[in-house]
């Protein structure tokens, strides 16, 4: 199967790149340092369990800003870089379709990034078990790990989609930076829901539709993961509590679906751009 051969070769190539391993291990380093530093903050929580859960959920929040950068570093050159160096010519000269190449690269780079998250959580587990943390919240940790993995893969998909959609490294870097800036920096200051509300009510003069704004805000991956974390830990990170009667698509349990949309859509867009692109 061609996809398998693309993965085999890409992983062989990537696993020898020091840069990628350094980038991939940074999350583990930061998570470890964070946990060590936070140990003496536990006394400020009402119970030890609450403190531990808050701390590990903050490892996820930390990752939500950090992992996208790492994912871009690991994946943005996967296709655009090969088009620039000409190795795409060899790859596409073999019986690989462009879809094989795109999916193969996505799986291979996702694997690298998932390893990076696994490493970070291994460090978290080790510190929780070996140092003075009072409880080990196994199921919560597992759920947080699952959510983080999904989030990470979503960003790999975004990076691969960008990489497939453009022809050069420079453009992949520029678009990647732009996307990170909009999704993860700009929206620190406001939410997508707020922007839409201003447009919706202020410019077009429609009546307020809070649920639309809420959905839009939570559709941004890093907002989505925060809401997801909140549902796992039962502790509010976003400062909002939702009545359970509101629509399903704004409930925290829906966030994994949002993240899956972020996996599929960038890949599809990237594929449609790449499918017809002239590789020369």
């Amino acid at each position: 199967m061609s996809v398998a051969d693309v993965i085999w070769k890409d992983f062989l190539n990537v696993r020898r790149s020091k840069g990628i391993w350094i980038a991939g291990s940074t999350y583990a380093v930061f998570a470890g340092l964070f946990l060590l530093i936070q140990r003496n903050q536990l006394r400020f929580y009402e119970t030890g369990r609450e403190g531990v859960i808050a701390t590990v959920s903050q490892v996820n929040s930390l990752g939500s800003f950090f992992v996208p950068i790492v994912a871009f570093v690991v994946a943005y050159l996967a296709i655009a870089g090969e088009r620039e160096t000409g190795s795409a010519k060899l790859e596409l000269g073999l019986p690989n379709t462009r879809r094989d190449v795109l999916i193969g690269k996505f799986i291979s780079r996702s694997f690298v990034m998932v390893l990076s998250v696994v490493l970070a959580y291994a460090v978290v587990v080790a510190i929780l078990l070996l140092t003075s943390y009072p409880v080990f919240p196994g199921p919560t940790l597992l759920a947080l790990f699952g959510l983080m993995t999904l989030y990470t893969i979503a960003y790999v998909a975004i990076a691969i989609g960008i990489s497939a959609a453009v022809a050069t490294k420079a453009r992949a870097a520029a678009v990647g930076f732009g996307v990170y800036f909009v999704l993860n920096v700009l929206l620190l200051f406001t939410t997508l829901g707020n922007l839409i509300r201003r447009l919706h009510v202020g410019v077009f003069g429609f009546s307020e539709t809070p649920i639309l704004y809420q959905f839009a805000s939570q559709f941004v991956p890093n907002e989505g993961i925060l809401v997801g974390i909140q549902s796992i830990t039962g502790q509010s990170v976003t400062g909002r509590e939702l009545p359970s009667s509101t629509a399903f698509y704004v409930q925290p349990e829906f966030m994994p679906v949002v993240l899956c949309v972020w996996i599929v859509v960038p890949l599809v867009v990237g594929y449609y751009r790449f499918r017809r692109a002239d590789v020369s």
């Binding site: 070769k9 062989l12 000409g86 019986p95 002239d278």
Partner: protein, 329 residues
């Protein structure tokens, strides 16, 4: 234009007739540059086809279309019976390619590169055999990041040989190779062709095409300006097949002008220069002179591919963008 006559029987692998068929092919890039314009020709099975043209003539774009890297703006390209725009990937199992401007993976070894191609093509080749064939077996386990241009080119050629392809598409295959490398590659290409492989070979190095190919197409500014066997093209030029004979003593009367195919005769002391219409008349001239005088030396000059080439590409080139052609060594 269908040149299948003698090539028809040569291939012994499959019953194929036409391996490459281009029909009204046109490629216009987004910036309005027309790289290929109304290109039509066919290549028969087992043929070694030389694709000539100065840099920028549209050769690489044509090859990019043949490999499915670039979609044509208009026209059709069929390779091994399959339209290149329609589910072409499986057909590439039967094609070996050496594209221009390819890049190898710096962090993979030579053996891993070949292994990758073997896996992807589901071929049965032993990477070692391939690497031996292209003369880099001793560097099999080195990462190619440190390879010279020549070694990279050998490796890329080796990768093209994996799976015993029916069609080899080689774009400027000798670039970066030393003379020994070029010789070896030529030998390999001939062996493969004798075995029925069709070889499509592009170059701007004329001597190379002359040494290897059965038939050539010459491209200039996106169009095919000539398509024929090399000898036939040479015959068309005529006039410039020159024979210079040194004699023991100045001749008295040679009456060479009476011979068929002789254009001009110049006698300067004991040296006789004869311009023939084609190479075939030269033997007659030598026999004729040998009967009448003692020949001490013979110098024969064929019209070079360069003459041929210039003649076909000159007319279409404006003065400003005339390309500098690499002169055969």
């Amino acid at each position: 234009m269908l040149e299948i006559r003698k090539y028809f029987m040569r291939g012994n692998k499959y019953k194929r007739v036409t391996d490459i068929d281009l029909n009204g092919l046109r490629k216009e890039f987004g910036n309005g540059v027309v790289a290929v314009d109304d290109l039509s020709f066919s290549i028969g099975s087992g043929e070694i086809f030389g694709f000539l043209g100065p840099n920028g003539a549209g050769k690489s774009t044509t090859i990019d279309i043949l490999l499915g890297y670039v979609a044509p703006t208009a026209g059709h390209a069929t390779v091994l019976g399959q339209d290149v725009c329609d589910n072409f990937a499986p057909t590439r199992n039967r094609i070996g390619i050496l594209p221009e401007g390819y890049g190898l993976y710096d962090r993979l070894t030579a053996r891993e590169h070949v292994e990758w191609v073997v896996r992807t093509k589901d071929a049965a080749d032993d990477p070692n055999t391939i690497l031996e064939r292209v003369g880099i077996a001793d560097a099999a386990d080195r990462r190619v990041g440190g390879f010279s241009k020549g070694m990279s080119q050998r490796l890329a050629f080796g990768m093209a040989l994996v799976g015993d392809p029916d069609l080899l598409l080689l774009d400027e295959p000798s670039s970066g190779l030393d003379p020994t490398g070029i010789q070896e590659m030529r030998k390999t290409i001939r062996e493969l062709a004798d075995d029925g492989t069709t070889v499509f070979f592009s170059s701007h190095v004329l001597s190379e095409v002359e040494a290897v190919c059965d038939r050539v197409g010459i491209m200039s500014e996106g169009r095919l300006v000539a398509l024929d066997e090399i000898d036939a093209l040479r015959d068309q030029i005529g006039g410039s097949a020159r024979l210079t004979l040194s004699l023991e003593s100045p001749p008295r009367s040679l009456e060479l002008e009476r011979l068929r195919g002789v254009r001009t005769v110049a006698i300067d002391g004991d040296t006789v220069s004869v311009d023939c219409r084609s190479g075939a008349e030269k033997v007659d001239v030598i026999k004729h002179v040998d009967d009448r005088a003692a020949i001490t030396d013979i110098v024969s000059e064929e019209p070079s591919m360069e003459d041929l080439f210039n003649r076909y590409t000159e007319g279409t080139h404006s003065e400003t963008d005339r390309q500098i052609l690499e002169v055969p060594q």
